[in-house]
């Protein structure tokens, strides 16, 4: 986890910074003034292959009294980019997302953008014309202001600035120091009045060049609309602390495979409103605690408000749904299966109800929050102890371990406790089983919401094991060939994926084709059986027969005992890694093969048995092969006890899989008996 607690950083850096204010700490460009000398700037030592470089990125946020008797946030943003190569032209496409809620809207004012090019030693400025700024309505709550820079060419300097005003105090703009392109100077200043308290959260691996705070007195003006009466003017003074953060020479950050989300590793600062503290007024907490967050959500009509009502609209149907169930566990299973099999999940990644539970029930569709809160209500209706659990999916980033930051959460599941056993339930996917969660949920800190005692629950990928066992028997058939039988119990994730893919048009036919064509050599596959394909609560089984025919024209028959199950490529392709490897699960994969030596052949050579350990006790790869006069027995097993690895472990991991790939490609050599 890389989220630091803000105060400790500030305290130490503040002292340092106040002693070393120098010219070096000033923004190195003059916005709006571009000279021929500016056209030599590159990402130089930072990234010689960069397609574009952010020369300077500068933002400020402040609170301004408004005419509604309250405050507006003003965010000023100015940015200079230099395009180095054509592949960097994308940096010229700018989108500013704006939040709206009814009459409250975020707005962009004073948008100016210019492209500067060097023509015959002279700087030429081409301004963006206002007709080329477009507004695209994305959804009910989001609009986008979009434009692209005119007169683009390699080497051009782009500069834009705008002011974004927001009536939403919760939207104090965060700041990302790191992005898709390297950045030479990134600076953010926030003027925070004493009467608003925010918690500052910073993350990332990079150090600040400047991190200071400076206090001064500011006079605030605001107007209280009087309605029928005259408007009333207010002014008052309060302390404002100016925070200033600077990073310089920030490298670009690029996503690699086995990453939950790159967002967890970007160097950035964000804010959470925690309290109001106006002069002569009582302190007003806005952030609360985990307990108040739980209470609030359980009371909120858009979340848990319906859970504890008597929900008599369920009375009749619940009798049908739980019919024949003996005991609470069986009841819970039937209720879960009912929601999973009869409701469509229309979107994943929401925290709030899109409709009251009764409407969700009637519509038979909704987000995962709708479905799982309904599931919770149905369990509670049957007097089964059930709590909603909120979490953040892997793609959404980590939650904060200390602060009750609701905005970090984006997913709701259900936790049922039956006969003191806890079951985590997610009814939003048709292929999920009772008591299982999709791998996206395994992302660390989840929160169980409960009236008496809300608590943290850790859903760690390290605790999720993907186990697969495969058994292959090969015997001599009555002709010159070999008859084989393949039997496999795939791991949970693989089973889910397989179930999902087999649902598509011609799913089973396509799978059969894939099996057939995926086999190397002349194998003929038949009698495919998929056990419990439509029963997600049962483990999936795959079985089929196959025939092999050794090439009789040569004396030697080479045979890979892994058949089609070998790992043929190393999953870790990149040569280096700068941040942790986060696999979705730990693994335990066993492949066993038992074969008769083909009629008329003898074993000339067997691969050597081997075992390698991964970091001594964190896993192993085992390759065991023995023979007697008639048969060969073989086993390959890969076991990894951890899903998450530090960047230092990357090379070990890559070498480990390289060895697996190499060993699993080895061959048994049979020779014709003369």
């Amino acid at each position: 986890m890389t989220i630091h607690n803000y105060p400790c950083i500030v305290v130490c850096c503040c002292i340092l910074a106040s002693m070393t204010v120098s010219a070096q700490d000033k923004i190195p460009v003059k916005f709006g003034k571009v000279t021929p000398a500016d056209f030599v700037v590159t990402a130089g030592g930072l990234d010689s292959s960069a397609d574009a470089v952010v020369v300077a990125d500068y933002g400020t946020s402040e609170f301004v009294g408004n005419v509604k008797g309250w405050f507006t946030l003003e965010f000023h943003h100015t940015r200079r980019i230099r395009i180095l190569k054509r592949a960097g032209f994308d940096a010229a496409n700018i989108t500013i997302p704006l939040f709206t809620a009814g009459n409250d809207v975020e707005k962009v004012d004073g948008l100016h953008a210019s492209t500067y090019t060097l023509e015959n030693g002279k700087v030429v400025e081409t301004k963006l014309d206002s007709k080329s700024i477009f507004t695209d309505k994305i959804s009910k709550n989001w609009i986008e202001e979009k434009f692209t820079f005119p007169a683009l060419k390699e080497g051009a300097i782009l500069e834009y600035s705008y002011t974004q005003t927001s009536p939403f105090l919760k939207n104090l703009q965060p700041w990302e120091f790191q992005g898709e392109y390297p950045c030479l100077w990134s600076e953010y200043q926030v003027d925070m009045p004493d009467f608003f308290k925010y918690v500052t959260l910073s993350q990332g691996y990079l150090p600040f060049k400047v991190n200071t705070r400076d206090t001064r007195q500011v006079n605030f003006h605001m107007t209280e609309p009087g309605g029928a009466d005259r408007d009333e003017q207010f002014t008052f003074d309060d302390n404002v602390v100016t925070h200033r953060w600077v990073m310089s020479n920030v490298p670009a950050l690029k996503e690699e495979p086995f990453t939950t989300t790159i967002d967890n590793y970007v160097s950035k600062i964000e804010f959470q409103l925690s309290a109001y503290k106006f002069p002569n007024m009582p302190y007003e907490d806005k952030m609360g605690s985990w307990i108040s967050l739980s209470e609030g959500l359980l009371k909120d009509d858009d979340f848990g408000g319906d859970l504890f009502r008597n929900n008599s609209w369920l009375d009749d149907d619940m009798k049908t749904i739980t019919k024949g169930a003996t005991g609470n566990l069986e009841k819970a299973r039937q209720i879960y299966a009912y929601v999973r099999d009869n409701f469509t999940c229309t979107s994943h990644g929401s925290l709030w109800l899109s409709n009251p539970l009764k409407t969700v029930y009637k519509n038979k569709n909704g987000s995962e929050a709708d479905l799982n809160l309904l599931l919770t209500a149905m369990l509670i209706h049957e007097k089964i102890q059930a709590d909603p659990v909120i979490l953040s999916t892997r793609a959404n980033g980590f939650t904060h371990p200390l602060y009750p930051l609701l905005s970090r959460f984006n997913y709701v599941i259900t936790r049922a406790t039956i006969d003191s056993t806890v079951y985590s339930l997610d009814a939003s996917e048709s292929w999920l089983a009772f008591g299982h969660l999709p791998s996206r949920c395994y992302n660390g800190g989840a929160r169980v919401l409960n009236k008496e005692r809300p608590y943290a629950a850790v859903l760690d990928a390290d605790s999720m094991m993907e186990g697969k066992t495969t058994l292959v028997f090969i015997t001599n058939d009555d002709k010159e060939g070999l008859a084989g039988h393949y039997q496999s119990l795939p791991g949970y994730v693989e089973s889910c994926d397989l179930r999902e893919s087999l649902k598509k048009e011609h799913g089973e036919k396509e799978y059969m084709k894939k099996l057939q064509t995926g086999y190397s050599g002349d194998a003929v596959v038949s009698n495919l059986m998929l056990d419990s394909l439509k029963l997600p609560d049962q483990p999936l089984g795959v079985e089929y027969d196959f025939k092999l025919t050794p090439d009789t024209t040569t004396d030697i028959y080479y045979f890979n005992p892994m058949m089609g199950e070998a790992h043929k490529e190393n999953p870790f392709k990149a040569a280096e890694r700068t941040y942790p490897v986060e696999m979705p699960y730990t693994m335990d994969e066993t492949y066993t093969m038992n074969m008769e030596i083909p009629k008329g052949y003898m074993v000339d050579e067997l691969p050597k048995s081997a075992k390698v350990l991964f970091n001594s006790d964190e896993g192993f790869f085992e390759y065991l092969i023995i023979k007697d006069d008639q048969r060969i027995q073989f086993r390959s097993r890969i076991k990894l006890m951890k899903a998450n690895y530090k960047p230092e472990d990357y090379n070990t991991l890559r070498d480990f899989f390289a060895y697996v790939v190499k060993k699993q490609s080895e061959q048994i050599v049979f020779k014709k008996i003369k």
Partner: protein, 631 residues
């Protein structure tokens, strides 16, 4: 090709009002191979005048299983020309009992901007998200059309795996209005009736069973029976035109371009600076195309009649960007200033696009290019690319019909097609395998024509990081790294890319005890394995011609002798020419492979032989040399 229409029945007496949604009423023949059934489709287009119309659509679909869910939802497009008056929908269970209703206000309003910078098109969308199969949905909508650019076609069979119980297309038009239509892959003809000053044209069809597409088969528009429609006189946003012939259509498009070729003075000056001293008009074209490529790039803004009308040349000059229309129009303006005539060409861009329908004039295609006729020759220009060679039309726009537009109207033209010799991939590999089985290889490849498209993109369109990433995922090798890459290009009508890669691969050769297993074919292995389907219905389509040549030398550790060496193989048949040969000397392996295929189509009866052909290639390309340690 087996006719898709063999079981066609016309049932004109079908009555919509007697509709029942019960799934039991679907004949078994329509359930076979079907994921969904179009129970009823009725489209009524009432043309009021050349510029105005009202459309009414009524669709009833039964979704049989999850794979058919795409028909369960509804999406309706609207923009400056089309406004939605009303939409409603209902959901029914398998017995035909109504479960739920939907109105326009329940629909989601979705932006269609996508990759464009701006587009005024939007969608209204809705989905019942039913999970109990089978279920039936019924949607009705009415749209006002103000500004006519064309009409929807009638394709009663929507797609693979969807059957149709009844489909009807009706046009009601003033008596004197010329309704133009053309049946494709069928002979559907309308019933025409007259009442008062109106004429009604009705097409109708019943009970079309579902069809299943096949890999390497023809595109859907080539299989499915459908009828194309187009206006004769039409009006849109104050522009009047006629598209009853390519001549008239071309004149209309030309009219939209009127006065849009005016260049600013500085650009005019630049054109003369660049071309006045050149004698050869070809040189002038190349120089101006290079100027276009260096000074513009592709940005798409589609507003109003923008689907047809390019932004003017001075707009492109000022902003240095535009879409395919604007950039082509700009290119033609540059050429004009240099005294050269460039032409504006509408075309389908892409690999899997329909053929241009040349015997029925209507607005089609999705792209614009330009060209310069030069006597017998023509220089084709893709104006949205900053790196393409002048004259080259690869897999995106090559080998197809298009309509060229000039002051005389529209003319059907054909873009160039490339032979197996044009699309060459010639590779020389100099490699060493060490004692541990690791491989170190210098890979030099020359690509030409369509074969150079991907390496060209790697060299020119990818950032350095993305290129490294792509190269490290490209090859079918166990654990490898491309640690050096270099590209050299030669522009031309058949462009050339030369690529040099240094590849290191761990454990390329498998060591099992005393033996060393080596596949001498390092990189170019055929991966095509065709499923041996029992019955093939459609032609097998090979879209491009190409020649691949590999000459590979691999130094091997000393002390081994060959135990098994793949036999030389030579195949020469109508599907392709393939030969591969390998020699093992005490210190090296020498491998040669040549594979040539020509663009062609094979009837379904050839399919079993195609399966065998590709199996032979697969086996040959994956066969290994076995070396055993000398004792």
């Amino acid at each position: 090709m087996k006719s898709i229409l063999s079981c066609l029945l016309l049932a004109v007496s079908f009555s919509l009002t007697a509709q029942s949604y019960n799934v039991a009423l679907i004949p078994d023949s329509l359930k076979k191979d079907a994921r969904a059934v179009v129970r009823e489709e009725e489209y009524i287009l009432e043309i009021k005048s050349p510029g105005k119309a009202v459309s009414k659509e009524h669709d009833i679909y039964t979704v049989l299983k999850e794979a058919g869910d795409a028909l369960g939802g509804y999406s309706s497009r609207y923009d400056k020309f089309i406004s939605i008056n009303s939409i409603s929908g209902s959901l029914y269970d398998s017995t035909g009992k109504e479960l739920k209703r939907m109105k326009k206000k329940d629909m989601e309003d979705v932006s269609a901007v996508g990759q464009n910078l701006m587009d005024d098109e939007r969608y209204k969308e809705y989905n019942f998200y039913c999970r109990i199969y089978p279920y039936t949905v019924d949607y009705q909508e009415e749209k006002d059309i103000d500004g006519i650019q064309g009409f929807e076609d009638w394709t009663p069979l929507y797609n693979s795996g969807i059957s149709t119980q009844h489909s009807k297309y009706v046009i009601i038009a003033p008596k004197e209005y010329q309704v133009r239509y053309k049946p494709v892959n069928c002979n559907f003809q309308p019933v025409i009736t007259e009442s008062g000053d109106k004429k009604t044209y009705t097409w109708e069809v019943s009970n079309l069973p579902a069809h299943t597409t096949e890999s390497y088969g023809p595109v859907w528009s080539e299989i499915a029976p459908h009828v194309l429609f187009a206006p004769s006189d039409f009006e849109a946003q104050g522009y009047k035109g006629n598209m009853s012939s390519w001549e008239n259509y071309g004149k209309f498009i030309n009219q939209l371009r009127q006065g849009r070729d005016v260049l600013p003075e500085d650009i005019k000056k630049k054109v003369h600076e660049l071309t006045d001293n050149l004698k050869d008009p070809r040189e002038k074209v190349y120089v101006l195309y290079d100027f276009l490529q260096k000074n513009t790039h592709y940005i798409s803004v589609q507003l109003g009649i923008g689907g047809w009308q390019p932004f003017p040349a001075d707009y492109v000059a000022a902003k240095r960007y535009g879409d395919c229309k604007a950039l082509s129009n700009y290119m033609i303006a540059l050429l004009k200033e240099a005294g050269i005539t460039g032409k504006y060409v509408e075309i389908w861009g892409g690999r899997d696009v329909p053929d241009w329908v040349d015997d029925f004039s209507f607005s089609q295609g999705n792209h614009v290019i330009s060209c310069v006729p030069m006597g017998k020759d023509t220089i084709w220009l893709e104006c949205t690319s900053q790196t393409e060679s002048p004259g080259f039309m690869g897999s995106f726009t090559g080998n197809r019909k298009a309509v060229l537009i000039d002051e005389d109207g529209g003319h059907i033209v054909r873009t160039p097609v490339y032979s197996a010799a044009d699309n060459l991939q010639c590779r020389i590999v100099d490699a060493t395998i060490g004692d541990e089985g690791n491989l170190d290889a210098e890979v030099d490849t020359k690509y030409t024509g369509i074969s150079q498209e991907y390496p060209h993109d790697l060299a020119d369109e990818y950032s350095a990081d993305d290129r490294t990433k792509a190269l490290n995922e490209l090859f079918n090798l166990p654990t490898y790294k491309v640690d050096k890459s270099r590209y050299e290009e030669q522009k031309g009508a058949i462009p050339i890319v030369k690529e040099n890669l240094h590849v290191i691969c761990q454990n390329y050769a498998t060591i099992s005890g005393r033996r060393l297993f080596i596949n001498p074919n390092l990189i170019d292995r055929s991966s095509r394995r065709l499923p041996a389907d029992s019955v093939r219905h459609y032609d097998f389509v090979e879209k491009y011609s190409f020649t691949h040549i590999d000459s590979i030398t691999i130094k091997i550790p000393l002390g081994y002798q060959p135990e098994a060496v793949p036999q030389d193989i030579a195949i020469d048949c109508k599907f392709g020419k393939y030969n591969a040969a390998v020699r093992v000397t005490p210190d090296k392996i020498i491998y040669y492979r040549r594979y040539e295929e020509s663009k062609s189509r094979f009837p379904p009866s050839d399919y079993p032989d195609l399966v065998k052909f590709y199996e032979r290639l697969y086996k040959a390309d994956n066969s290994r040399i076995v070396l055993v340690k000398k004792t």
